[in-house]
Subunit: 304 residues, 2 copies
């Protein structure tokens, strides 16, 4: 069970020489997801050696350009790379029409099937699940319909405690399936050996929450409670709370308050406004409220 998050872009609004709009590549429990896809994302993926073919699911938070203008280029590149595996896109209603028109206009032909999952619900919903990971939406509040995403590893079954099992010669391999299934074992003497004694707890299932873009919205706290890694946007320093309110973004302090209230293990902030040259102050401000805060930067990798 492990999480590796690669920041591909973490600045707001417009690409600049060394500032790239939002995109993150998430490896969780050996599954691979792309989250948001601002202009230039595929170039950043090449730069930071992200394997294109590993990604089968792309999650778009909202339809502002700095979060999805890079999508069509990536999809077109998948066509050029002769991708055959189907690709799932999750995002707000409207993403399908515009993406398909772009691909059609540019005569981008592909062998692979593109499957859109358009979102409209304002409640948190389960949108993806397999045997390794589940993904829920985190309804955010921005100038347009926006969702964050909560990625959770699936809890693995308890493991056989071979040391304890070897203390009961009567228990043999034929019983292992029952033990793994959580059952107690009744010995020939009638003694019940509890499943807890015969098994070890699995590694902790980890989780990652992506929250961007959003104003301060404390009602997401129950959804992201105890998350191991939280990315929460912090477009402005605290002094520009007025502008954060007006543009429906968050400040450093607001992001840190969410992290603290949700009791997450680690906070990453990003989506810095272009007005700031020195982003180190973002970290200092957030740390006052939530100590384990880190700054998103292009190419930076976070491991849990």
């Amino acid at each position: 069970m492990s999480i590796q998050l690669t920041i591909l872009g973490c600045h707001s609004a417009t690409p600049r020489a060394n500032a790239f709009p939002t995109s993150q590549y998430l490896e969780i429990n050996n599954s691979h997801f792309l989250i948001d896809c601002g202009e230039g994302t595929q170039r950043q993926m090449r730069k930071y050696k992200v394997g294109f073919s590993k990604i089968n699911h792309i999650f778009i938070s909202h339809l502002h350009g700095d979060h999805f203008y890079g999508l069509v280029g990536l999809l077109s590149t998948y066509g050029i790379l002769n991708r055959e595996k189907e690709l799932h896109i999750y995002g707000p209603k409207g993403i399908k029409e515009v993406t398909l028109l772009q691909l059609k206009t540019s005569q981008s032909h592909a062998k692979y099937q593109l499957i859109f999952h358009e979102l409209t619900s304002k409640e948190s919903e389960l949108i993806f699940e397999d045997d390794k990971v589940s993904v829920r939406t985190i309804p955010l509040k921005h100038r347009v319909y926006t969702n964050g995403y909560l990625f959770k590893e699936k809890e693995k079954p308890r493991k056989l405690n071979m040391l304890n099992i070897s203390g009961y010669p009567e228990i043999d391999k034929a019983d292992y399936l029952n033990i793994k299934a959580g059952k107690d074992i009744v010995l020939s003497t009638g003694k019940v050996v509890s499943n807890a004694e015969l098994t070890l707890p699995p590694k902790k299932a980890l989780s990652f929450a992506f929250c961007s873009d959003t104003c301060y919205k404390p009602d997401i706290v129950p959804i992201i409670k105890d998350t191991d890694l939280l990315y929460h946007e912090a477009t402005f320093l605290a002094e520009r709370e007025d502008l954060a309110k007006k543009t429906k973004h968050s400040t450093t302090i607001e992001a840190a308050k969410i992290a603290k209230a949700a009791n997450v293990k680690q906070l990453i902030i990003g989506h810095y406004s272009g007005r700031y040259k020195d982003i180190s102050i973002f970290k200092k401000e957030a740390e006052e409220i939530f100590e384990n805060t880190n700054l998103a930067e292009p190419g930076k990798i976070f491991n849990v």
Copy 2:
């Protein structure tokens, strides 16, 4: 009269860490044009310090993604920058619908007016003209409808030859307008002083031709005859003439043959296929046919 061409991107197909799709910024006779706009163009404009506000006309050659996927991001950024001046887009039919849908979907609001000039003609046509520059299409042949563009400085009027004029005390300032208008002057003696004697030729009007993407198409030669600077795509080395034919691109040799037949002063080649790591061979091959050949590279500036 001068030309300065900045290469923003010059690789084909897909953006990579150090490869950017086609885009060029042209300053000609103090006018400023953007030609093609692959993904990441606005980032390259920032990197190479191209003034966003100077551009009022954008020319798109064709609707393959590597030539226009960066357009919507740039237009959206103009909105964020509070642009008010109208902006003209020239490109194949279809560009308006897809661009407007993208801007609408991303709720990109702008104060400025966006004016589309959709092209459908297969003949060379004059599409822009003011007192400084004219722009004609160069019909190319690619897998989709494609135009190159020929940018020509307007010939300036002849200048007063003050040294010669001072030899005729009878000629005074009141005559200058007539002289500038090309008229001869009749002295009181009846002697005719020819306009050629009273004026100097203006600086030579320069021209730049942009030809991408296209297969080998010698019938463009009359249109670009004697051009000072020619950019012609050379996607493949000569050995892959088969692939050039199949994909309707050109080889180094074919680009150089066009330059030679058109008697241009200087050739720039680019749009290199991603299969080539070392592009220096492109120059060597083309130089065998046309000596004054240069390679397009990101950030490279060509002055005439």
